[in-house]
């Protein structure tokens, strides 16, 4: 791989805060649930996108991190490939769906069912930014830049995309562990496994 690519922008969301390119945008009120924290972040984003409220936590998290990246580098109708990953796939929505079917309600909710695949989060980003690009959602034990970095670079080298939005989105009622970053030619930080890992680990 030639090392011409850079991390142009990134966004990190944890249980405590949201950071965009090193700047803390918001810190969570300890009394706030993670779900409410995401709504607070949404208001901060000024996205004005009512469909946000219908999304599951996985899609909400991916949507919001992308929203702040797109404020710095527009993704609108660009050839930006999406490469996200996590550990639990769409487990939180899968559980809700199972409870709806087998629990007291005894009936599926269409609004829950549509989120029982992790790549729906990629679809939400694509709809929001009008992307018709390549996308892939991978499941790993842990955040794995050693796979994401070469895959993203290969996508760029093969001219399948001009930019790649990559990262990790683990989200449920107890945990927000989100790190999404944009790779392209321009940027201050070289796109290396070490740099990606360091940004993910940075508090």
């Amino acid at each position: 791989m030639n090392n011409q690519y850079n991390i142009n922008s990134y966004c990190r969301i944890t249980n405590q805060k949201i950071i965009s390119d090193g700047e803390i945008l918001l810190e969570r009120n300890p009394d706030e649930s993670l779900s409410d924290f995401l709504k607070t972040i949404y208001r901060k984003s000024e996205a004005n996108y009512p469909k946000f409220f219908k999304m599951d936590l996985l899609s909400k998290s991916a949507f919001l991190a992308t929203e702040f990246i797109s404020k710095k580098e527009s993704l609108w109708e660009t050839n930006t490939a999406l490469l996200l990953s996590n550990r639990s796939s769409s487990m939180a929505s899968d559980e809700k769906h199972a409870q709806a079917i087998y629990g007291a309600e005894g009936a599926a909710s269409p609004a829950v069912f549509v989120y029982t695949l992790p790549n729906v989060a990629l679809g939400e980003i694509s709809i929001r930014h009008q992307l018709f690009s390549e996308n892939l959602f991978l499941i790993f034990d842990k955040f794995s830049p050693e796979t994401l970095v070469p895959y993203a670079e290969q996508t760029l080298e093969e001219n399948k995309a001009e930019k790649v939005l990559a990262g990790w989105v683990e989200a449920d009622e107890n945990q927000l562990d989100v790190f999404i970053y944009l790779i392209k030619n321009e940027g201050d930080t070289k796109h290396t496994i070490e740099n990606v890992q360091n940004l993910y680990l940075k508090k």
Binding site: K39, F53, K54, E105, A107, A108, P110, A111
Partner: protein
Amino acid sequence: MSDLKQELKEKIIAQLNLEDITIEDLQDDTPLFGDGLGLDSIDALELIVLLDKQYGIKLADPKEGRKVFETIQTMADYIEANRPK
């Protein structure tokens, strides 16, 4: 009937996660789809489930839904006419 319409507004806002919409925003004749409330196809499925679970009405013909789900008023009229006595 007005109680039913009020109840429908509350249930629709809650069930469809319409967090930016208040009961006051939702008039009896506000179109639920298109330029009105802007609901989508998944919302339509949720409304079918709502009719079944809350009012015991099964909408067998999806084409029927187009007229039933036009507004709060048409939904209320349909429920009044079809719910089990």
